[in-house]
């Protein structure tokens, strides 16, 4: 259960090896021990994350999740919930894609559309179903400023984030009164493994700053926040 002061008993990281997901877990673990479910593909990186979070005091459970597999989201949520209620779920998976290739390669467009929009929407639906039954919970969706105003330089990525953002914003409204809430987080350019190959840009932020914004946003109980400075909840 999330307590009166926004401290969390269990955390589900969907795309559990993402830098922002891991930073969020660390941010909570700095306050208290808690249960953390790492949902990701079975890679060496997943094992490293699980070991790292265990060392930080988490009671870690690892669950398979593959955004390309249509049956994976339902199975993943069921396995995560088998160990107890999910207080906060962070949906943190996605791909930046190669902007040049996405301009001409329709197969690549279909693929990123699936990973960045279809799969998060399916995961969001499964999480919402589960949390409605629980009568409580917070879904944190990692959107992006790239989806707020889609730029020509990476418009395919931006369009998938715009769709994902719209989905979770709508989901937030549809969950009014159920005890479940949704926090849509729109970071700017985050320096992380996803963007490691790109040149530095001004006004970029870090996974740790985004994690701070997530923890603060969950505490405040709003629906939307930008990063690094969280805006007022709507």
């Amino acid at each position: 259960m999330i307590d009166a002061l926004g401290s969390v008993g269990s955390l589900l990281l969907v795309g559990g090896t993402s830098d922002i997901a891991v930073a969020t877990a660390h941010r909570y673990l700095a306050e208290r021990p808690l249960r953390v479910v790492v949902a990701a593909r079975d890679t060496p990186r997943r094992g490293e994350v699980a070991a790292d979070l265990t060392a930080a005091g988490a009671d870690v459970q690892v669950v398979d999740f593959d955004a390309d597999d249509p049956e994976s989201p339902a199975r993943m949520v069921a396995e995560a919930a088998a160990g107890g209620d999910i207080d906060v779920a962070v949906v943190a998976f996605g791909q930046l894609g190669d902007a040049d290739r996405l301009r001409t390669d329709s197969e690549a467009v279909a693929q990123i559309g699936h990973v960045n929009y279809v799969a998060p929407a399916v995961v969001g639906t499964e999480l919402a179903n589960r949390m409605r039954e629980q009568g409580h919970g917070v879904i944190v969706a990692l959107s992006s400023v790239a989806g707020e105003r889609v730029r020509a330089s990476n418009f395919v990525y931006g369009s998938t984030k715009a769709g994902m953002d719209a989905f979770y914003s709508g989901l937030a409204d549809s969950l009014a009164g159920t005890g479940v809430s949704v926090l849509v987080v729109r970071p700017g350019f985050v320096k992380s493994k996803m963007t490691a190959h790109l040149p530095d840009v001004p006004l970029s932020t870090t996974p740790e700053a985004v994690a701070d914004a997530i923890v603060t946003g969950v505490r405040r109980g709003g629906t939307r926040c930008g990063c690094p400075a969280p805006c007022a909840g709507s």
């Binding site: 259960m1 999330i2 307590d3 009166a4 002061l5 926004g6 401290s7 008993g9 306050e31 208290r32 021990p33 107890g84 209620d85 409605r132 039954e133 629980q134 009568g135 409580h136 009164g177 159920t178 005890g179 505490r219």
Partner: protein, 452 residues
């Protein structure tokens, strides 16, 4: 048949951490059984007047029984002062009915708007704990409806383990249906009250240690904002019920006359931040100055002495939409320094506390999760502000290292691992609970949060 329930968002008195559940009014055991038969996989918990500050009477995604409709008086024995009542009856109602007959509730919290079932489930204490113990010690027996639908009559002399798991057990052993309560005989509805102002914490503690045994009822209000030399300055009020012959002549005609009218209500429009260090400091200064330095044998009514805040309906709204938490802890005698350190940290944090109440506890009872234990207890209301979680986690560590504990009826945020260290009889409680409810039918947000 039980009326069908409706989905609602529920919170406790602190108005924090709302969750959704199906609230089902019940008026007796048949209704409760009907809910158990058709219950959701998320379980069931009983709810009374919802004065627990946190999540004790919430059950996210499951069923919550509204017990307040089961409020009949079933039997009265004026010779022994015992009353047999349904669990949903309030202490307020008991006073209205029985004070005119010369019987007062054995123990009352700072509010009389609690049910008898809730009073047992939280094993509430009052200003007379040092003399009379907590509520469960005045229960001859209670009828508990178990997960399998059977009813077990339990008391200190029959099925004692289940009784002492239920007393203070926060509703997690079953549904308390009825109880036989030993009331306290009184000759009048007036108290003779002594008031003392003390300039600091040391003088308060020594006054209580030296003379508390002379009074039936005793409580101190502490100014948490005052710092330095004046830290812990307080107004101590102590008293006992007046005998009829101690009343002025005009009151002797109708000495048991009792009224509990609520005077004002707080509208639900208090902006956040109304209470800040400056306004609370001003309020506290006024309160302290207004109290007499020393006063003896002042006559006070029951509501004025026991339930001053009940005169202000919905006072919990004063803390605004983000709600508040109450931090109540006890430390054993000899650990006064830990209490002083806790007070200093709260005072230094600038978290405004509207009320800080200190009391000296007497002996505890066998209740496995019962809160009172010999020592000092301090209760503070703190509005929800940034950084509060860390501050209170730190206080918990201080308290647990001093051999103390926090009070579940007030709690909404304690760390589960620290809670386990505070209640050494938790394992005994779990054993009883597993025996009577192996599938965990009775559960609550509190139970989930703390893995009880």
């Amino acid at each position: 048949m039980a009326e069908s329930g409706s989905p609602v968002r529920l919170t406790g008195w602190g108005r924090t951490a709302a969750t959704r559940a199906t609230l089902i009014p019940v008026s007796g055991e048949d209704d409760v059984r009907a809910v158990l038969d058709g219950r959701s996989a998320r379980g069931v918990v009983a709810r009374g007047l919802a004065r627990s500050y946190g999540d004790a009477a919430q059950n996210a995604g499951g069923d919550v029984l509204d017990m307040t409709g089961a409020d009949r008086v079933l039997d009265v024995d004026l010779a022994t002062g015992e009353v047999e009542v349904e669990a949903g009856i309030s202490l307020d109602r008991l006073m209205t009915l029985f004070v005119p007959l010369g019987l007062f509730v054995p123990v009352t919290a700072g509010t009389r708007y609690v049910t008898v079932g809730g009073a047992i489930a939280a094993d509430i204490h009052g200003k007379n704990h040092h003399r009379a113990g907590s509520f469960a010690q005045h229960v001859a027996w209670l009828d508990l409806l178990l997960a399998d639908g059977t009813i077990r009559r339990v008391g200190p002399d029959q099925d004692a383990d289940l009784f002492w798991a239920t007393a203070g057990g926060m509703g997690l052993t079953g549904v308390i249906l009825r109880a036989r309560v030993r009331m306290k005989p009184i000759e009048s509805a007036q108290l003779l009250v002594d008031t003392d102002r003390t300039p600091d914490l040391d003088s308060l503690l020594s006054l209580l240690t030296g003379t508390d045994h002379l009074y039936d009822y005793s409580v101190a209000w502490i100014d948490c904002v005052a710092r330095g030399r004046r830290m812990g300055r307080s107004v101590l009020t102590r008293g006992r019920f007046a005998r009829r012959d101690e009343l002025p002549a005009r009151r002797r005609v109708d000495p048991l006359r009792y009224s509990s009218a609520v005077t004002v209500s707080v509208p639900d429009v208090f902006p956040p931040g109304l209470l800040n260090r400056a306004t609370v400091a001003a309020f506290n200064e006024l309160w302290y100055r207004r109290a007499p330095r020393q006063e003896r044998d002042r006559l006070q009514s029951i509501p004025r002495f026991f339930h001053p805040l009940d005169g202000v309906g919905d006072w919990n709204r004063v803390y605004g939409p983000r709600g508040f938490v109450q931090y109540q802890f006890t430390v054993p005698f000899g650990q006064e320094e830990a209490m002083r350190a806790a007070l200093e940290r709260i005072s230094d944090s600038g978290s405004a506390s509207f009320l800080a109440v200190l009391k000296r506890f007497g002996d505890g009872n066998p209740g496995m999760l019962s809160y009172p234990s010999p020592g000092w207890t301090l209760a503070l209301d703190v509005p929800v502000v940034a950084g509060l979680a860390g501050l209170l986690d730190g206080l918990d560590r201080l308290v647990v290292d001093a051999g103390g504990r926090i009070y579940l009826a007030k709690d909404s945020r304690v760390r589960p691992d620290l809670f386990e260290r505070m209640y050494p009889r938790l394992e005994a409680f779990r054993t009883v609970r597993t025996q009577v409810d192996p599938r965990g039918v009775f559960t609550s947000d509190l139970a989930r949060r703390l893995s009880l």
